[in-house]
Amino acid sequence: MLRYIARRLAQAAIIVAIVATITFALIHLAPGDPFSAVLDNPNVSESVRETLRAQYGLDRPLPEQFVRYVGALSRGELGWSFSHDRPVSEVLGQALPNTLLLMGVALVGSFALGILIALIQVARRGTTTDHALNGITLLFIAMPDFWLALLALLSLAYWLPIFPVGGAVDPVTHDYLSAGGRIVDRLYHLALPAMTLILLASASVARYQRAALLDVLPSDYIRTARLKGLTERQILRRHALRNALLPTITLIGLSFPALLTGAFFIERIFAWPGMGYAVVYAIGTRDYPLVVGGVMIGSIMVTLGSLAADLLYAWADPRVRNI
């Protein structure tokens, strides 16, 4: 197991290193730099631009810039955010907990809901319920994240004002609430964005889990269980689900890119002060270092997510460890 973990960790490190190279290439393949007249105020004189380039090290040869970039990354520095006038790592570091909260709740919620839907479908396979749920999951898979978020905002925050229209806390009353009241206030603001992300992500979990369940049902041990006289419900929950959950662990790792992308749009629409909100705002202000920093952190999250899923799988299924 230890050897497996070590190998998997080394793999993840290599991936992150290549991603860093890709982001560096992204920056330097682009036309101009943050101080060229195309992107910046054209009224600034060329000598001022030169000074700024020298200050930010943009006048050095590319290999030197690359070494500096990698060195800075390894110290956790992601560059300077022009629009916030603060280090990128500080801006993103402040936003990250909110994104992790949203994604974490959505991850747990979507797998719980998805597995539940799959169980209902398989218990009633072939019936109208099965077909209807099939149609619904197909619909939600086809739904663009930002569109569902807009509809949720429109229907449940504006037309039926059940939930707040945005933000992570109430901007006026939050500071005056008791400790318990603050938690309630936070949950109240989290509810609608999280529900949207859960709905979006659970559809593919449900389809995946349904297929996995149908895969194991013809197995010999299921027939044995049936011959022992167990009820269909007991067979599904004790025998089929336990085995069909294994492939779902892999899906946890695979679902990180979609969750992150969904969180980006949802944060923008619900003004949820996370990483996506910061990066989308940075697009508007052409704050390039902040966007690239977001790409970097996002990729690290995805890499760590699939690493965690693989280790979880190895823990759950001993056959994998020895490969």
Partner: protein, 297 residues
Amino acid sequence: MPGPTPVSATSSAARPRESPLALSVRALLRKRSSRIALVVLAVIVLVGILAPLIAPYDPAAQPDIVALKSQSPSLAHPFGTDPYSRDVLSRVLYGARLSLVIGILATFVSLTFGVAYGAIAGYVGGMLDAVMMRILDAFLSIPRLLLLLGVLVAWPHLSIAPLILFLGLTGWFGLSRIVRGQVLALKHAEFVTAARALGASRRRILARHLLPNLVSPIAVAATIGVGHVIVLEAGLSFLGIGVPQPLASWGNIIQDGADQVATLWWMSLFPGLFMVLTVMTLNILAEALREFYERRS
């Protein structure tokens, strides 16, 4: 392992030889759900092609930016008008055209790259394969939207052609891995060894003997891919870095009304419905194709 058999062996003596495309279409027509999906998709494609004929107004015209702006749906404007007094129905119809064209062209770019990269890695193997796969791993761990954000922020104000190119260039990683796996599995199949023994060149083996066996994963990936690109383009346009104004794409229209979603609900609802319908039919067709291919092999 789903043992892929060479195409020439399955469509042998018994039946007259049919092209993979004709076979796939026939398979799709056999299932009711995919028949419906095909009809719906055909209608959307027709709408896109005929947009100039059936759109009631010019999609970019701003007839009266004061009197006709932000009107809710009515008989004259079934989908309402936007804050610039443009007719939303006309924009949605033209949007169908643009979204489909972008989806198809970008997917074509993805297929070309994905197949070439995967086939080379799988066929050459060894050190080159290992390096190419690690690079692929890295690209796969950058969410596609984020990768595009990074590119599009560096190249601001892109026109349609480079946008399509970038959408295509960020969409081939998954397919590439599938193609590589298939090539790796088939590399030592008997019919490939036979071709090699007969003196066929590497290029000929790849193009004439291996690629025809990759039709099924490519067809499935292409069908899903078009839908992915449509949603991605819409997302980028929604964030203001996709299709440039005054062109109408479904994402653009939604973006125009997003800041006032509470009052201009028609601007997000209608283009979104078209988008969901398109992507859903594409997904249904992809799944039917996959089922068909799996049963055949």
